[in-house]
Symmetry: C2
Subunit: 331 residues, 2 copies
DNA sequence: GGGTGGACTGCAATCCTTTGCAGTGCCCGT
DNA sequence: ACGGGCACTGCAAAGGATTGCAGTCCACCC
């Protein structure tokens, strides 16, 4: 059906080898020949068969992306970034969604590894050991976390938390509650740490209320405990949790930001639509996806750089102040 | 590196052909031979090389999915459904996001068509002619709309709108505003039609306020016009628009549902987090993705059914009543 | 006992492209 | 005038799996 390299060769009056070279190593063929080949390619609408090319080069021109949940806007943005960047490099992306099941990750990556050159893995919960095992199968770039020995792109959570705390302290808050996400989550750990450091540096006080699901429901569940801490401000694991807090606080008649200021993390689309619009630390999600792709592709092109390992991208968050934070209430 | 079919053949003491058959046409090989092959496969961890197989069978074991915007929760859910179902069939999914640029669709499908067996296309804006042209390149299943001669899965918008109107009329509303999405959108047209029919059947009155972007901003922009119609209820193109309406109405001090009832369409995650929680027509988004995959795979397995054309899936929406609708105000 | 058919299995071609190696022809230097 | 080198091009193998065709072997029938 589709034109093959032989058809092009025949039409251009050259051998298939020459066609192949004219396309991939233009410097190696005479300009006039190259033009004839180009014309034939054009006329026939020829495009190299990727399977055949992959068979011989060992490369598929495809990368995989594994995320916990596509329906989560955070991962959707990430996916968008990955996809856009990959297309820019003429690389296709297989996406796979683990449905928030960390156990499925390893199997998925293994299955994927046969069909792709490498994978971008977003695995907030897995341990470093599990990740190391997964990385045996194929070239892996982590996103949204780091792990020793593995390349990845992550956010500077400490810095983001510092910005949030500085904002709250400037508003007069002294006691700040912290609603963590899943205990095993890399981000929870780093955000918690960043918060402790920031609070200490600014002579405020942190009131952690434990670990909750990183969802709207998680936020609803945490709200009453937040109130019980007596804090005048709260930092939530992410925006979904913050919005859950907002909902429960509202139904309890607690005013935000009058009685309690709320800060989220991520800046998903929903945040600016929340009522009150949510103050949050914006994470450049698409950017993370883009950088992960660049990192992965660079490793693929030059395996040395992979060996040298631990290539990292680090991204900074930016505090977006909206209406959910305000001056601390006077006692 | 990885084991090939010849390695397996050697270990099992048979020819590569027999291994191939043992795996894909088990009935053709002797049970004991098959067992030996199976053991060898197991021991070597053999998996057929997809590129090599694709080269000869002409099938890639991959389908494409083209959506306007992955970051839109509606399409994210759809993607999730497609992806899950495809994995179930051991088929990989390339996803591509057109960034809401209908002009990019054709090119994207064409590029994709070289690498996939077929594509699931979500193209709300393209004309029937454009779609027909696109479908030349490869096997296409439409999702979220229909077009003559092309298979697709769509929602019964008329029915969904009828449910919404029946609900509103039962609450005493007689004049219902309608905020349409992009004029060229298939869904806008069908929802508008369904609304007109339903309103007529129930002796109410429709007040269309025109076409807006299918976004939060679109809803904000439409709100004042909705108010100006004097309607006591409004149906929005989708939930995003409805949430935008909610925001603007709130800032104008118009009570929902006290002064005005609001109904959306889609039931995205955000809707139940809105304030007030949004009454909406829930569309089975993942289900649509799943069915589209089934349809596509069936057409691929049996091209006849493709020729017979116009295979369709139809899905029904379900009205989810939350807090944004209430009794019509007494004049 | 020879012939026929059935049940398996193997051979070899094929899918399409890339790439190491071996030309071919020409130019230039000596 | 001849050898060497350069620039370019072609040959052929390779990559891994599938499949039409042909072969082997055995059992069974007449």
């Amino acid at each position: 059906m589709a034109a093959t390299i032989r058809d092009v060769a025949r039409l251009a009056g050259v051998s298939p080898s020459t066609v192949s070279r004219a396309l991939s190593l233009p410097g190696m063929v005479n300009a006039t020949t190259r033009a004839r080949v180009a014309a034939a390619v054009e006329q026939l609408g020829y495009e190299p068969n990727r399977a055949a090319r992959g068979l011989i080069t060992g490369r598929t021109g495809t990368i995989g992306l594994v995320v916990p949940d596509l329906a989560n806007p955070f991962f959707a943005s990430l996916t968008k970034g990955v996809q856009a960047r990959a297309r820019h490099h003429d690389v296709a992306v297989f996406v796979a969604d683990t449905d928030e099941d960390p156990a499925a990750e390893a199997g998925l990556v293994r299955a994927l590894s046969k069909q792709v050159d490498g994978v971008v893995l977003c695995s907030p919960r897995a341990s470093d050991e599990e990740l190391a095992a997964i990385a045996q199968d194929t070239t892996v770039v982590l996103v949204n976390r780091t792990a020793v020995g593995l390349p990845g792109v992550a956010y500077d959570n400490e810095d983001g938390m510092r910005q949030a705390v500085a904002h709250l302290v400037a508003l007069g808050h002294r006691r700040i509650a912290w609603v963590g996400g899943p205990a095993t989550s890399w981000s929870t750990q780093h955000r918690g740490l960043g918060l402790r450091n920031a609070v200490e540096a600014l002579r405020a006080e942190l009131a952690p209320v434990g670990n909750f699901a990183p969802t709207y429901e998680g936020g609803m569940a945490a709200a009453d405990q937040v109130v019980a801490t007596g804090a005048t401000a709260v930092v939530a694991y992410n925006d979904l949790v913050a919005i859950g807090l907002l909902a429960r606080l509202h139904s309890r008649g607690i005013s935000v930001p009058g009685d309690l200021s709320v800060v989220g993390v991520d800046d998903i689309a929903m945040s600016r639509m929340a009522r009150p619009a949510l103050t949050t630390v914006r994470l450049p999600k698409q950017e993370a996806g883009r950088i992960a792709v660049e990192l992965l592709l660079a490793m693929l092109d030059d395996p040395e750089s992979a060996a040298e390992g631990s290539k990292h991208g680090e991204l900074h968050g930016e505090l977006i102040v909206r209406d959910s934070t305000g001056p601390a209430p006077q006692k």
